[in-house]
């Protein structure tokens, strides 16, 4: 371990070099994708693929996944693998609903964060203080989170006032939703009670090439947005700033890259790992609180549905970076929204989109001299095109696993460029370096 660290000094501050993404490049890339999507929409007539409703739903569905991914990022940047995100999220849903139905949704958010953070604290105690294998501890927390909340729900939601309000051993009483806001003038928001025009909505309904798609995208991101969604979205740049631009963040990351080097420089590795894993649990708890105050109106046993694990996938997809994981979460959210809203026909239109995308990749790879990769991409594009022409819709069974298929594809295409923290998942004992 130490030899590799010597031979290959790990850059603690990733420079925006050839491997990094510059903002302008990302924006250009996004614009090209949108243009392609718009073209596909006009050709196929599947208006829902860029509608504001789809974008809004994608954002709503992406937030819990993205928050879980942020939780994973915090833990893994400090060198602790956190597979217990799912359990911490479950704790967040229960505690959030418990406080939420009594004292309002924002109290639910705060208590949900605390609930998740307690799960994180437990994980930190097990992995950092006692040196338990990270996976074992994480799985234990998932089981504990599920069992504990079921037990507590039976104990507290099935009696007295809670029961009269609609609680039961499997669900909480309903929690009021957090207020939603819309941007005035552009998306029809209210200004002091005056209902302003919905300019983007008007543009969207014209179904013009590119213009309507852009309007739909913007309207989806600005109309009917829950205040908690704004908080969650803001956490992405905040995480980036704290982890990459502050002293505390540098120390946390150094614990994840080379804890013994950090130790030799006087960093309290245990304390840093504790802090990071508790923050990780808090993020997962917030994801759970989001589920009970925004996405659903109450706590329901089993409602997290594996979002914690999908968050981990989104984090890996995003190469252990905040911007990347937000993109991954949006991709999952978009695929889920497709599945829930329009299903077969819209996904059918996306076949054409993916086919064209693959064809472009084929040409690009070919020009770079990677003939075999180009050929494979070309064949895949041709097969998708044939599928597109031979069918009218995609069966529901396939639609439901589009997000997973997409991840698999992207991960297999980009896995060579992924780089996880060097000491991720290793057990660290103070002063034991050999």
């Amino acid at each position: 371990m130490s030899t590799t660290a010597l031979a290959e000094p790990v850059p603690l501050r990733a420079a925006p070099g050839p491997g990094g993404f510059r903002l302008s490049r990302v924006l250009l890339f996004a614009a090209a994708l949108l243009a392609l999507l718009s073209l596909v929409r006009v050709i196929t007539g599947a208006d829902d693929i860029t509608s504001s409703g789809t974008v809004g739903a994608a954002l709503r569905l992406a937030v819990p996944i993205g928050l879980a991914a942020l939780g994973g990022l915090w833990a893994e940047r400090s060198g602790v693998v956190n597979i217990g995100l799912e359990g911490m999220m479950i704790l967040g849903t229960w505690t959030g609903a418990w406080a939420g139905y009594q004292w309002g949704p924002w109290a639910g958010v705060v208590v949900g964060i605390i609930g998740g953070a307690l799960g994180g604290l437990l994980h930190a105690a097990a992995t950092v203080t006692f040196g338990v294998d990270h996976i074992v501890s994480g799985v234990a927390i998932n089981i504990l989170g599920l069992g504990l909340t079921q037990f507590l729900a039976g104990l507290l939601f099935d009696t007295g006032e809670a029961k009269a309000l609609g609680g039961g051993p499997r669900q909480s009483p309903p929690v009021d939703a957090i207020k939603t806001v819309s941007l005035p003038v552009l998306s029809g928001g209210d200004i002091f009670g005056w209902r302003s025009p919905d300019a983007l909505g008007w543009l969207e309904r014209r179904h013009w090439l590119l213009v309507s798609d852009l309007a739909g995208l913007l309207r989806g991101l600005t109309a009917g947005i829950s205040l908690l969604t704004l908080v969650a979205v803001a956490l992405v740049p905040i995480t980036f700033f704290v982890l990459w631009r502050t002293r505390f963040g540098l120390r946390v990351r150094s614990c994840g890259e080379s804890p013994y080097a950090a130790e030799s420089l006087g960093v309290s590795v245990y304390r840093m790992k504790y802090a990071a894993v508790v923050i990780s649990g808090a993020c997962a708890g917030l994801a759970g609180a989001f589920l009970v105050t925004v996405a659903s109106p109450l706590y329901q046993d089993g409602q997290t549905g594996g979002r914690g694990y999908i968050g981990l996938a989104a984090m890996i997809f995003g190469n252990w970076r905040p911007g990347g994981l937000a993109g991954g979460a949006m991709l999952f959210g978009y695929a889920d929204a497709m599945n829930l809203r329009s299903g077969g026909e819209s996904v059918h239109a996306l076949l054409l989109f993916v086919a064209v995308l693959l064809a472009i990749i084929a040409v690009w790879q070919w020009q770079r001299g990677r003939r075999s990769a180009g050929a494979i991409a070309f064949v895949a594009a041709a097969l998708l095109l044939i599928w597109y022409w031979q069918s009218d819709t995609v069966p529901g069974e396939l639609v439901s696993f589009t997000p997973h298929l997409t991840t698999l594809l992207v991960l297999s295409l980009a896995s060579q460029r992924l780089r996880m923290p060097a000491a991720d998942g290793l057990i660290y004992r103070r002063g034991e370096e050999r």
Binding site: A57, G147, G168, R170
Partner: protein, 353 residues
């Protein structure tokens, strides 16, 4: 035998341990007779094995629990209730049934179609115990001591489909099913047929299933129901029928918030406190009388009138139906009751898939 018991107990105990402190809300023994179990008086011991969710799910299992509670109030019985765990194998269900049967519980009820195969298997080992499967798979059971209760959900769904079509102002209605399984297809088939019968030019949006098996989150995650409902509202639907269990709460809340109409399922959802603040937007509910099936069965065993084989619960014996709470369907009740009459008499056939 005793050894078998001990193994079962060990399996159960370890299963409980796996679920942490939860025990899945599972075991509950109550005795209404007041005295010790050894009393010579004729006390019926009823064992009830729930599907995932168990007592308190405010839906299917609770309906069975209501039936049991009703029996309890009318007969002198002792009960034991056990719940299933999510994603458990059939062998766990068999162990649960064996535990009940060998504990002297007779009759034994399995709630949910997942108990069909386990009960058929276990019933052979306990020929003197009477078993009931609620929602028997494909409506088929075998064995001289097994009864299967089947519900004609498509008939009830036909009526609420007709109600949806008659009440729709936009001429577009929607359906949201929890999981893409044959049982839920029955709801959809009846709904669509009913809507088309009442109003031939109605537009019924394609059925939306929240998840595909083996992923059963579509019955549990209200967030999925909520966004699916938003999608159908955006597509112009103004009446949406859900057959999605717990996820349906998301559907009802979203539809209610948009001031459109929702149709509930299984029990009369108008009276559920969890959706009380939007209950004015619940048009009706497709009611499935699981409680009646459980009550009839226990009563039959007590009166020694038990008959093996399947028993149909449909419109003709009020095993399924529609709810009238809230008075939203009062003006079309005559029309709905006419359909009900035609279906009961066999004049009108409702498709099941």
């Amino acid at each position: 035998m005793r050894r078998g018991m001990r193994i079962t107990a060990a399996v159960l105990a370890s299963a409980m341990l796996t679920l942490g402190a939860a025990g899945c809300g599972g075991k509950k023994t109550t005795s209404d007779s007041g005295g010790a179990g050894g009393e010579a008086k004729k006390t019926l011991k009823v064992g009830l094995a729930y599907d995932i969710g168990g007592r308190g799910d405010q839906s299917f299992n609770d309906a069975a629990a209501r039936g049991l509670d009703r029996v309890k109030s009318e007969l002198n019985i002792q009960t034991k209730e056990l719940s299933a765990k999510p994603d458990e194998p059939d062998s766990d269900k068999e162990a649960r049934l064996k535990l009940l049967a060998s504990g002297g519980f007779n009759p034994v009820v399995g709630v949910g179609f997942a108990y069909t195969a386990p009960i058929t298997k276990v019933a052979k080992d306990f020929p003197n115990t009477k078993f009931l499967v609620v929602d028997a798979d494909q409506c088929k059971v075998s064995g001289a001591n097994v009864e299967g209760a089947c519900f004609s959900e498509e008939q009830g769904s036909f009526l609420v489909g007709a109600a949806a079509a008659l009440k729709s102002k936009t001429g577009t209605i929607g359906f949201i099913g929890g999981v893409n399984v044959p049982l839920i297809h029955k709801f959809w088939a009846g709904y669509e047929a009913g809507a088309k019968a009442a109003k031939p030019d109605i537009k019924v949006l394609p059925a939306k299933y929240l998840t595909q098996p083996p992923n059963f989150n579509g019955f549990k995650d209200p967030a999925l129901g909520s966004d699916a409902a938003k999608g159908q509202l955006d597509a112009g639907a103004d009446v949406i029928y859900h057959a999605a269990g717990g996820a349906g709460i998301g559907v009802i809340k979203t539809v209610g918030a948009a001031q459109k109409l929702a149709i509930g399922v299984d029990s009369d959802q108008y009276n559920q406190p969890a959706v009380a603040n939007v209950k004015d937007f619940i048009l009706t509910s497709m009611v499935k009388r699981v409680d009646v099936a459980v009550f009839d069965f226990v009563k039959a065993v007590a009166d020694n009138t038990f008959t093996a084989g399947t028993k149909k619960y449909d419109l003709s014996n009020d095993g399924v139906g529609y709810a009238t709470s809230g008075g939203k369907v009062d003006d079309i009740k005559a029309k709905l009751d006419q359909y009900k009459q035609e279906i009961s008499s066999g004049q009108l056939k409702v498709p099941t898939s």
